[in-house]
């Protein structure tokens, strides 16, 4: 498994805030994603209705998940493919290694897949003498740098152009060391050339799956580069890795979700390549794999069904939640300490690795609600994070000082009269201390909190309740 550094979220985040390169990369990228998504949504008046449809399709599938998985598996087998059911990451790794060994594989090309990060398949293959080659441009440089993706659809979100140039010079030592990268395009061209021979030499191609279709037994991948298609078309063996919640009933269901996916993710109306793979090369076909395997992975998801976290299984991995998250926007993805960053990760990671290791993640949120408002399948992310905070509290994982203060707050909150009295006193004091400055850069006893943030000073005019009561009296 990928090393989990989620328990060190605070230190990770502090380091990220002080990383000038990271802050530069985050600053450049953030606005672009938001604007492109907003534009794509404004071009499709039915987008909001489609979100409801997407939610309903996923809910229907989850309520009948056993049926749709069995139907999917039967249809894969009818098309000459094999389905491997795996409960754990270990089982999935062993299964993939076994398929690669039977194929006598030396090198394996890989399309971008987050589940492959989750089961850490690259390390496992390498440890057994098989070379995995990431072919998505972002994943390729991440592999060169021995890092993990910092974003689920833009793995190299944290890098600047200078990093690309330096790494390419360092790793592609067969090329002229004095070559010039005038444009980003030159970096892209070099990667294209380097990876071409890898595509042609690979014995096995491993991809993820954005969807599985029960009706036809198809796995679907969505890419812009075409690397996933080269990966699953050229080698003799294609392995699709997919978690169990990727299945949907029909092509029509997948189509509706595809209308949401690219718009929410990159702000495209549709991705460049949306490809449906169904079984093995047919008689007479001139290309395509002779073996087709689907490795169907549970790894903790079936336990989420029937729990308060079931809704998380609707996620289609578009990354809109992290693109719009004010916390992700300043910490980047690595701070979250495991495979899935941002709001969706803050809900999913505790489910998959345990709340004891990931307790800080559901707390890394301002509950501003932006994630839920852009989620294409309407997952109530803040609410699910709140459920994790409750579980954390119940299990006494919350630090003692926090528990004590929460207890104090609860005492007042249950006594509205006392609460109003106390807030009025606190606001009066703060107003007095602020002396019209607007914000506090630091506060006594809250140095840790104000180190990374400013506290807005209360506006004049009293508490919300006092102002509300006044407006009621005045009949406004």
């Amino acid at each position: 498994m990928v090393q989990i550094t989620s328990p060190a979220f605070k230190q990770n985040a502090a380091r990220a805030l002080g990383d000038a390169g990271l802050q530069k990369a985050l600053g450049k990228a953030k606005g672009a994603f938001l604007q492109r998504r907003a534009d794509a949504v404004s071009r499709l008046p039915e987008f909001e209705q489609l979100r409801d449809i997407g939610r309903d399709i996923k809910n229907h599938t989850l309520a009948n998940l056993d049926f749709y998985l069995e139907t999917f598996a039967a249809n894969v087998e009818r098309a000459g493919g094999t389905v491997h059911w795996c409960s754990t990451a270990e089982e999935a790794r062993a299964t993939v290694l076994d398929i690669c060994r039977k194929a006598d594989a030396k090198t394996v090309t890989k399309g971008k897949s987050m589940i492959s990060e989750e089961i850490a398949i690259n390390d496992h293959l390498e440890a057994h003498g098989i070379t995995p080659v990431e072919t998505d441009l972002g994943e390729y440089i991440i592999q060169l740098r021995h890092e993990h993706p910092s974003h689920i659809i833009a793995p190299a979100f944290h890098l600047n152009r200078e990093d690309w140039e330096a790494d390419f010079r360092r790793m592609h030592t067969d090329l002229d060391p004095n070559r010039v990268f005038n444009e980003r395009r030159d970096i892209l061209a070099e990667a294209r050339t380097k990876l071409r021979s890898r595509f042609l030499a690979a014995d096995v191609g491993i991809t993820g799956a954005n969807f599985l279709i029960a009706e036809t037994g198809s796995s679907v991948i969505v890419t812009n580069e075409g690397n996933g298609d080269l990966t699953q078309t050229l080698p003799r063996v294609h392995i699709a890795l997919a978690s169990i919640e990727k299945v949907v009933p029909t092509l029509e269901d997948a189509t509706s979700l595809l209308r949401l996916l690219a718009r929410s993710a990159t702000g495209q109306d549709f991705s460049v390549y949306t490809t449906f793979s169904t079984g093995v090369r047919r008689p007479g076909d001139l290309d395509g794999p002779e073996e087709y395997h689907v490795v169907l992975i549970d790894n903790g998801r079936s336990n989420m069904i029937g729990s308060e976290f079931q809704e998380m299984l609707r996620c289609i991995r578009c990354a809109a939640c992290m693109n719009h998250c004010p916390v992700y926007g300043v910490t980047g993805g690595h701070a979250y300490g495991w495979v899935y960053p941002g709001p969706m990760g803050s809900v999913l990671t505790p489910s998959l690795v345990g709340i004891d290791k990931a307790a800080l993640l559901p707390n890394a949120s301002t509950f501003c609600g932006k994630c839920e408002s852009v989620c294409p399948v309407k997952i109530p992310l803040p609410n699910l994070m709140r459920h994790w905070r409750e579980r954390e509290f119940e299990r006494h994982l919350t630090p003692r000082a926090v528990r004590r203060n929460l207890g104090l707050w609860a005492w007042f909150a249950k006594r509205p009269g006392m609460y109003r009295l106390a807030t009025r006193a606190a606001m009066g004091t703060l107003s007095l201390l602020a002396r019209g400055k607007g914000v506090f850069r630091s506060l006594p006893l809250a140095g840790g909190w104000t180190e990374g943030r400013d506290l807005p000073a209360p506006e004049p005019g009293g508490t919300f309740m006092a102002r509300y009561a006044k407006m009621q009296r005045e009949g406004r």
């Binding site: 098309a79 059911w85 833009a154 980003r184 395009r185 812009n224 509706s256 460049v272």
Partner: protein
């Protein structure tokens, strides 16, 4: 068995056993009728506008379209495009009877072989199965006459598409495939591979800035044959 363990765990979560027969029948009915959901209004327009929408969307996604009056003009359109792009008049052609029957001999400088694509092919000429106006997307199902490698290996892909094959929404393309194709292995309709292609290959992995020509074709050119009188532009 792992399969049984996973299914049992799912059913535990759903607080039920395997589905009773009547509920299975209902779900099988849903699979058989595969109901459509909402189809965006943008493609629900008269034929000439549908074609115009298709072309507009292809161009928005950095593809190009040449509209010709009849199939016989395809060789000339291919030669013109390659000359305009300063590319050698050499390509791999989809071994498709409709494409092979075109009057290639009238353009003797064009060299081609009908086969799957190889890494050394700079240009491919593919047969388009359907065009989806909604987003300017091509549907390219694999078969012996439409190899997948032609969609991904060459730097330049030219797709020959009949205007009569341009439809509004993805759902209409699926229904056409359901109607027209029987798979020799499954008895269903899905071929081994169906690619929905929207414009040329690209990546935004470097600083979230779009660059064309990642691993797939850098150029996608569609030669659209006006074989549908109802779809001609209104004069």
């Amino acid at each position: 068995m792992t399969k049984d363990a996973i299914l049992a765990s799912i059913r535990r979560g759903l607080k039920r056993g395997p589905l009773p027969a009547d509920q299975r029948a209902m779900l099988e009915g849903r699979l058989a009728t595969h109901p459509r959901h909402l189809i965006p209004a943008r493609s629900r327009v008269p034929r000439p506008e549908q074609i115009a929408l298709f072309i507009r969307n292809v161009e928005k996604e950095f593809g190009s379209v040449a509209r010709i009056a009849a199939g016989e003009e395809v060789p000339e359109a291919v030669a013109d495009y390659l000359a305009a792009q300063n590319l050698a008049p050499r390509f791999v052609l989809a071994p498709n009877p409709e494409l092979q029957a075109l009057p290639w001999a009238e353009k003797p400088m064009l060299e081609f072989e009908a086969r799957r694509a190889q890494a050394t092919d700079a240009v491919s000429v593919q047969h388009g199965y359907a065009g989806i106006a909604e987003t300017g997307t091509l549907m390219l199902p694999s078969d012996a006459a439409r190899p997948t490698t032609l969609n991904i290996l060459a730097e330049t892909e030219i797709v020959v598409l009949r205007a009569s094959a341009v439809i509004g929404a993805y759902e209409e393309a699926w229904d056409r495939l359901r109607r027209e194709r029987t798979d020799p292995v499954t008895g269903g309709f899905m071929p081994r591979n169906v690619m929905l292609v929207t414009g040329p290959s690209r990546s935004a992995d470097i600083e979230q800035t779009l660059e064309l020509g990642a691993h797939g074709p850098r150029r996608l050119h569609i030669i659209l044959i006006d074989d549908d009188p109802a779809a001609l532009p209104v004069a």
